[in-house]
């Protein structure tokens, strides 16, 4: 099933953002086509999370504009949903109640109930509907976060280092799980990470951010076949991509970062 059509789903025009005197993002321009999985990669402090939050409508801009399906955004919207880092579940709500939170807010729980149930099954949490977050492992919680974000059926899925708090093994499992789930519908996805192998493994393209000020340094297209088994990480082709990207960001990562005053 080929769901990609060659039109720009998400466009970022001359985006600029300052925190005080500090230029966090300067003149970021980007166009993401429909159905592509794009990672935003860069050292800490390069503004990649701020960038994602702006696309999500959670942060204002100083200049520039975000356009989704031809419409400029002005805040959070039903066309986007966000997967945060850890502990974004409401602890007093069960797995099911967390999954349908977005549907409850838009008043469509009864219409979309079947799809939400199917999503819980897709993320592998059938039978856990009545569990509370404290009863779940970190990986399971991120599955619920993913299901909650997908339940509102967004046009663009935004993920902010969703696996960064997981241990290394769980993280790899969740990467393959994310790809499996993503293959089922292929929504346009923006994924922020600072791990090169994660970005290469998941993405069609990796957008590399440089810092001070935050800007797009380069876009690397990842031509690896899908679906991608975890073993692809040990192929020479994959390792070449990782090495290539590492060389691109090495200077930025090893440069002194704590210049105070």
């Amino acid at each position: 099933m080929e769901m990609r059509s060659n039109h720009a789903k998400l466009q970022v025009h001359s985006l600029t953002k300052h925190f005080g005197d500090l230029g966090v993002l300067v003149d970021v321009n980007l166009s993401v086509e429909n159905g592509y999985f794009v990672s935003v990669l860069g050292p800490s402090g390069c503004g990649k999370t701020t960038f994602l939050r702006i696309v999500g409508g959670l942060e204002s801009v100083d200049a520039g504009e975000i356009v989704i399906d031809g419409h400029p955004i002005s805040g959070p919207g039903r066309d986007r949903s966000f997967v945060f880092q850890m502990d974004s579940l409401l602890p007093w709500r069960t797995v099911w109640e967390n999954t349908v939170l977005g549907l409850e807010i838009s008043g469509t729980v009864s219409d979309d109930k079947d799809r939400a149930m199917a999503l819980l099954k897709l993320v592998g949490l059938s039978g856990f509907e009545r569990y509370y977050p404290k009863q779940l492992s970190g990986g399971m919680r991120q599955r619920v976060n993913l299901a909650r974000a997908l339940a509102v059926n967004p046009e663009v899925l935004l993920m902010d280092e969703p696996f960064s708090a997981l241990d290394a093994q769980t993280r790899e499992v969740m990467q393959t799980e994310l790809l499996r789930i993503w293959e089922n519908g292929r929504k346009t996805a923006l994924f922020v990470t600072h791990q090169i192998d994660e970005a290469v493994y998941l993405s069609d393209s990796v957008v590399i951010f440089a810092r001070r000020p935050g800007r797009v340094q380069e876009i690397v297209r990842i031509d690896l076949p899908r679906p991608r088994p975890l073993s692809i990480k040990r192929t020479p082709h994959f390792i070449e991509y990782v090495d290539h990207i590492w060389k691109l960001i090495e200077k930025d990562v090893t440069a002194p970062s704590n210049v105070c005053g």
Binding site: L58, R78, F84, W92, I105
Partner: protein, 268 residues
Amino acid sequence: MLSGVHILSRARNRSVWATTPQLSRRALSFISVAVGLAAWELIGRFLVANSLFLATPLQAVEALGNMWIGGELQRHIWSSTQEFVIGFLIGSASGIAIGLAIATSRNAAAIFNPWVAGLYSTPIVALAPLMILWFGIGIWSKVAVVISVVVFPVMVNTESGIRATSPHLIEVARSLCATRWQIFAKVSIPSAMPYILAGLRLGIGRGLIGVVIGEFFGARAGVGYLIVQSAEAFNMPAMFAGVIIFAAAGIGLTAAFQALEHWLLRWR
């Protein structure tokens, strides 16, 4: 085969005592209470054998039975129950409402905060005589006392609970396009629940004190009234019977409320 690491054959047996610490501690508590009551009984019977100053537990229980048979105990309990229940319901409902208002509206905060600051640490029960003067010696003066002591802890806790809502969870709701009201109803209120319930639990204890104090200053019936009347008549068994009723009410209500809290906060 020398890898520097090997598996130990068996875990050592754990101490027998370690398997039942809870049970033995519960027995310890029980023994403590039993010894205390027995000592009280013995002291009242042999050391301070003067019924004008001290009644023994058995005498108090006997007084309870007699007053129950005579029907006067039910009248006192019913009176105090009405005062407590009506006062607690009105006091906690207005405490929650004002607390929510202060936490969400700067104007409401400006209106209420000076009063809260001034009255929160004031022993409000000191106003009990005034309440009797205003509302008479029927139940409503005591209801007023209970309201005035319950409202503050509930209000203060509600406010801090709403303020303690995680900004991150609010952002989660915002990212899903929640309105201000939806954020309030689906995030702030449930997140403040542990605080609100703790405030209500404090309110139970204070409300009971309010009933006693209110009835001390003027009443026609009630368990607090029974205590003053019996004390004035040097009827120590009846006085201790009244104290026992309040103690039982305090223990029972708090335990019941804790069970409710435990159930409501089962997600924690």
